[in-house]
Amino acid sequence: MAAHNLKHALFCAIVTLVISYPILGFNLESQGTSVILEGAKTSTVIGVLLAAVIVFLFQLFRDNVMGSLRQLPAVNPLANRKPMEQSRRLKLESALLTLMVIGALIWPFIASRGAVDLATLVLIYIMLALGLNVVVGLAGLLDLGYVAFYAVGAYTFALLSQYYGVSFWFALPIGALLAALFGLVLGFPVLRLRGDYLAIVTLGFGEIIRILLNNMTSLTGGPNGIGGIPDPTLFGMEFGRRVKEEGNTSFHETFGIAYSSEHKVIFLYLIALVLAVITAIAIRRLMRMPVGRAWEALREDEIAAKSLGLSRTAVKLSAFTIGAFFAGFAGTVFASKQGFISPESFVFLESAIILAIVVLGGMGSQMGVILAAIAVTILPELAREFSEYRMLIFGAAMVLMMVWRPQGLMPMRRIHIELKPQE
């Protein structure tokens, strides 16, 4: 063991102590009107010390530990097999996807109400992440204010229904198009920006939208939000117990079945599912079209792309616009699902989570992004007891991913293109 290993391990242990002792080792107790500082319980102090010792030992024997880990026989028996043939893989993939969609269609009728509700949220996040994937994963434009477009979609529906009584189905395209317009508007000032600078401006844009919604009290109700957003209807059939709007019928009466509040939840889930599938297919197509390749070309080398006649303006704006469009979709569904929205739902943390989904899933990879969206949305629900440590776990997961799989869960795979041999 080299001396510098010992030094390093000592240093790490001290850092652990310095960081954790002040946080965990002291308690603030209120006595009457004053607050006094007390030492924590002995068990906590021992825990902190133990943690420091563990860190010290791990760092001291790090090389051995990591080395023996590497020598473990491959845990994954599939790791060394040959890659599948292209045509077979494609067939398998499409079969698997079809099965997944069919399963997702049947599933809500057997699952519990809460699970279906959560699944709707997952689908909304899938839409958002797929949209952001266009901007970040394909076009390489780091957008930290993506939630703004989500908010635009949600508020469009909320405001239209409140002031003009517009129904979900009309508001859906309007919300998406308005969000796309906002994407276009944001695109113009940031055309020349890249990397960090772009991130800062988009971050600012996201905050501007949220603060605007918060402060335009007369229009948006400010922090009180907007409630009473109607549920979607199925060909004029409402899902409530009683019909709210003149001329509509209710779903359970039309079909002569007993009223159940589950109908509405399932219906919303199915809408979200259809929209998510449409989003996935549309973006999948776009990726293989000239515009999709242009996004990637711009990410890879802006100068070369321009020298081949690609207009930077058009390519960047199209990425922003299309990304925002799908966020608008998701926003409208979200507003309808919640029935109530306020600026609280559109804080920076949302942007960060969506971005985390894209990064975790693998930039540019649709399957990866979908898997990551499911994982990131469902895991916190499963680990409700740890909800205080949610962000801690989230952060740790991100760090671990960056160490072990920096390219994401399922990195993007290039599309194999068959060429006809030329004479």
């Binding site: 776009l286 990637e296 070369a304 321009k306 020298s307 081949l308 207009s311 293109i417 041999p421």
Partner: protein, 251 residues
């Protein structure tokens, strides 16, 4: 077809290019040579729209193009390569060629999403064109490799193929032989001549490899310290005393 008149480019106090003139006729290979830092690439950058020249005119097929944005110039049929290869590294070789053909595939979004027959037909055409050029530069076997993983010589050839699928009228090559071994240089030599002979493309190239320049150029322009030093056929240049002093070196 291309005429550069009294081109000047000033960066602050530095006059990088001073009153350079040159012209390229159809069906011609013109070389620009000169010592390092002479301003050759700056001339290129002005011609391809990466810089806005501070003085002079650039006429392409009779139209003034100086100061136009780069992507518009390339759409006119004036396409360039770079001194350091600039491929789309994480995209496959075919995709590199397809990106370049975006204008031939200029369809609206909807027809692409719905895969209309018209769209398919155009896509097939651009695939065929890509296949043709891959064959031509001998990269057919690499078609689905990532461009960044190719050997350097292959990357060079791919860059030229990527320019050619745009069907340019004038090709500008910035040191195409840099980093190639003698055998590869010879292949390149033949490729450039065939571009002129078989595809009727004019070529302007910057090059330090004198054997390549002397072999294939119809005319040569020599630039030294931003100023034009001489121009003429390879034979004239070889015998020009100024050029020998400044660049070729006395034998």
């Amino acid at each position: 077809m291309l005429e550069v008149q009294n081109l000047s480019m000033r960066f602050g106090g530095l006059l990088a290019v001073d009153q350079v003139s040159l012209d390229v006729q159809e069906h011609e290979i013109v070389a620009i040579i000169g010592p390092n830092g002479a301003g050759k690439t700056t001339v290129f950058n002005c011609m391809s729209g990466f810089y806005k020249p501070t003085g002079g005119k650039i006429l392409f097929e009779g139209r003034e193009i100086q100061g136009k944005p780069d992507y518009k110039i390339s759409r006119l049929g004036l396409v360039r390569t770079f001194q350091h290869v600039r491929l789309f590294g994480r995209m496959t070789v075919v995709e590199n060629l397809l990106v370049a053909q975006h204008r031939h595939l200029n369809t609206n979004l909807l027809s692409g999403i719905l895969k209309t027959p018209n769209y398919r037909e155009r896509e097939q055409k651009s695939l065929d064109r890509a296949a043709y050029w891959l064959n031509r530069v001998g990269l057919m076997d690499m078609a689905n490799r990532e461009a960044g993983n190719l050997a350097y010589g292959q990357q060079r050839r791919l860059e030229i193929a990527r320019c050619m699928v745009t069907e340019p009228k004038l090709l500008m090559l910035d040191e195409p032989a840099a980093g190639l071994n003698p055998a590869e240089t010879k292949d390149l030599n033949q490729l450039i001549i065939s571009l002129k002979e078989d595809y009727n493309v004019s070529v302007v190239l910057i090059e330090h490899d004198m054997s390549l320049v002397m072999d294939i150029s119809d005319r040569i322009n020599v630039i030294n310290q931003g100023r034009p030093l001489a121009s003429g056929t390879p034979d004239e240049i070889r015998r020009n005393d100024d050029v020998i002093k400044a660049y070729l070196g006395e034998a």
